[in-house]
C-alpha cells in the first residue's frame, strides 16, 4: 500500500493575465519518480515551484503529506523543511565551501548538532562522489560538480520528496552524465522524486511515470516507456518526435 505524498487539485497559476497552469490535477505516491516533460513555457517548472510555495497559486489546492501548501502562511516553512529542491542554475551559496553549503540548513533551519551534521554531510559527499571537493568553493567547481553539491545539500535535511527543476539544462554535455548517474542512485534508493527534464532517456529509464504538459494542462500521463513508444495524443507525439530527432 502506498501513501499519497503530494496531491494537486485543479491547480491554477496566473502571471498577470497569462494563465500558466490551467487546472492541473494529479497525485504523487511515495517512491514514485514522476518526470514532467513538455515544450518550454508550459508551466512545468512553475508547477514544481508551487509545491514548496516559491510561487503562489490562484486557484485549486496542493496538499503535501496532508498539509495544504500555502505560500504566504507561516506553515510553508514546515512544508519546505520536508522538501528538497535542485535548481537549474544550482544556486549554491557562493560564500560558503561545498561542505558548508550542505551543512547550513540542517544546522540553522533544523537546529541539529554540528558534529552529527558534518558526519552525515561527509557521507553525502561520498554518495555524490565529491569527497575530494569538500573544501572547494562553488566558483572553483565545474557545473556538474556544483549540481552534485546541490543534490547533497538537498539531501542533507532528509527530505521526503526531491524536486528537480531542469537539473541538467545548464550543464556541459560531458557533465550531464555524472549528475544523471547520481539521480539514478537516488531512484534506486526508492526516493520520491519530481523531475522537470528534457532528458527523455533518463525519464524512460528511471521514471516510474511520465507527465506531458502543454499549455498549462496535463495532456497525457502514464508509464514512460509505453508513452514514448506510443503516445496517445497528437501533441505528445509531435513533441516527442522533435525531441528524439534532436537527440540523434
Amino acid at each position: 500500500m502506498t501513501d499519497t505524498v503530494l496531491q494537486f487539485d485543479n491547480v491554477v497559476k496566473r502571471f498577470g493575465d497569462r494563465t500558466i497552469l490551467d487546472g492541473v490535477s494529479t497525485s504523487v505516491q511515495s517512491g514514485e519518480i514522476v518526470c514532467f516533460i513538455g515544450p518550454s513555457g508550459t508551466g512545468k517548472s512553475t508547477l514544481l515551484r508551487c509545491v514548496n510555495g516559491l510561487e503562489t497559486i490562484e486557484g485549486g489546492a496542493i496538499r503535501f503529506e496532508g498539509t495544504p501548501v500555502q505560500a504566504k502562511q507561516r506553515s510553508i516553512i514546515d512544508v519546505r523543511r520536508r522538501i528538497g529542491m535542485i535548481f537549474q542554475h544550482f544556486n549554491l551559496y557562493p560564500h560558503l565551501t561545498a561542505l558548508e553549503n550542505v551543512m547550513l540548513a540542517p544546522v540553522i533551519v533544523h537546529g541539529e548538532n554540528r558534529k552529527t551534521v558534518e558526519e552525515r554531510a561527509r557521507g553525502l559527499f561520498e554518495k555524490v562522489r565529491l569527497s575530494h571537493r569538500i573544501n572547494a568553493y562553488p566558483a572553483q567547481m565545474s557545473g556538474g560538480e556544483q549540481q552534485r553539491v546541490a543534490i547533497a545539500r538537498a539531501l542533507a535535511t532528509n527530505p521526503h520528496i526531491l524536486l528537480f527543476d531542469e537539473p541538467t539544462s545548464a550543464l556541459d554535455p560531458e557533465t550531464v552524465g555524472e549528475v544523471l548517474a547520481v539521480m539514478r542512485d537516488l531512484a534506486v534508493e526508492g526516493r520520491t522524486m519530481l523531475v522537470v527534464t528534457h532528458e527523455i532517456r533518463f525519464a524512460a529509464d528511471v521514471g516510474t511515470r511520465m507527465v506531458f504538459l502543454d499549455g498549462g494542462k496535463i495532456v497525457e500521463e502514464g508509464n514512460p516507456r509505453e508513452m514514448l513508444a506510443a503516445p496517445r495524443s497528437e501533441r505528445a507525439r509531435r513533441f516527442l518526435s522533435t525531441i528524439s530527432n534532436a537527440a540523434h
Binding site: L54, R80, F87, N91, H95, L104, I108, Y137, T157
Partner: protein
C-alpha cells in the same frame, strides 16, 4: 608674493594636545562608522520591505540625510535639541549627527549590495525552509558585505573627514586643534599642514585596518568571482 619661513618648531608645545585630539577624532569616527553601518543596514532592508510605509520612511530618511549639510544636522542636535530639554555633550551630539548623516549613505551602498544578490539565492534558501531573518543573517548579508566592502571603505574615509565638522559643536578633535593652535601661534601653514597629515594618516590606518579585517573575514582566495 612674500617669502614664508616655515617653523614647525613653534608647534612643538601643542603636540601633546594634538595626540589627544587625534584620539578623539579616531574614536568619534570609528563609533560613527560602526553605528552607521548598523543603522544603514536596517534602513537598506526597510527599503526592500513589503510594507509600502516602511519603504517610504526609509527612502525619506535617505533623501533627507543625503540632501542636508552635516553642519545643519550637527547644529540641530547640539543647539536646537536642548531647547526641547535634550542636552547632549559635544561628543555625543557630534556622534549622533555624524552617525545619522553617514547612515543615509551607508544605506544606499548596502542597498546596492542587496540588489546584486541573485534571486536564486533567496529561492534556494526559502526552498530549504529558512526564515527571513535566518536568510539575511546567514546567506544574504555575508554576500552583500563582500560585494560592498570596497565602496564601504570610501564611506569610512568620508566619515573621518566629515568628523572635522564636529569642531563646530565644540568637540576637541583635530580640526578644532588646528583652529585653536593656528590662531594662537599664527603659524597657519604649519598647523594646517600638520592637521592635513594627521587626517591622512588616520584615514590610512582605518583603511588598512578595514583591508586586514576583510582578509580575515573573507578568507576565500581568488575564488569568489
Amino acid at each position: 608674493m612674500q617669502p614664508y619661513y616655515f617653523s614647525f618648531r613653534s608647534i612643538y608645545p601643542y603636540l601633546g594636545d594634538l595626540a589627544a585630539a587625534a584620539e578623539v577624532t579616531l574614536l568619534l569616527s570609528l563609533l560613527a562608522i560602526v553605528l552607521s553601518v548598523a543603522i544603514g543596514s536596517g534602513i537598506a532592508l526597510m527599503r526592500r520591505s513589503n510594507s509600502r510605509l516602511l519603504r517610504f520612511f526609509a527612502g525619506l530618511y535617505v533623501e533627507v540625510m543625503r540632501n542636508t549639510p552635516l553642519l545643519v544636522i550637527l547644529y540641530i542636535v547640539y543647539f536646537a535639541l536642548p531647547q526641547l530639554g535634550l542636552r547632549l555633550s559635544s561628543f555625543n551630539a557630534a556622534l549622533i549627527g555624524l552617525t545619522l548623516n553617514s547612515a543615509g549613505y551607508m544605506a544606499e551602498i548596502i542597498r546596492a549590495g542587496l540588489v546584486a544578490v541573485p534571486s536564486g539565492q533567496f529561492e534556494a534558501a526559502f526552498s530549504q525552509g529558512f526564515t527571513r531573518v535566518q536568510l539575511y543573517r546567514h546567506i544574504i548579508l555575508p554576500q552583500v558585505f563582500r560585494t560592498i566592502y570596497a565602496p564601504l571603505g570610501n564611506q569610512f574615509i568620508a566619515v573621518i573627514l566629515a568628523s572635522s565638522l564636529a569642531s563646530a559643536v565644540a568637540v576637541e578633535e583635530v580640526a578644532s586643534w588646528m583652529q585653536t593652535v593656528g590662531s594662537s601661534s599664527f603659524r597657519f601653514f604649519e598647523t594646517f599642514i600638520i592637521a592635513a597629515v594627521v587626517y591622512l594618516v588616520l584615514c590610512q590606518i582605518v583603511n588598512l585596518g578595514r583591508i586586514a579585517i576583510g582578509r580575515w573575514l573573507f578568507r576565500q582566495p581568488e575564488a569568489y568571482r
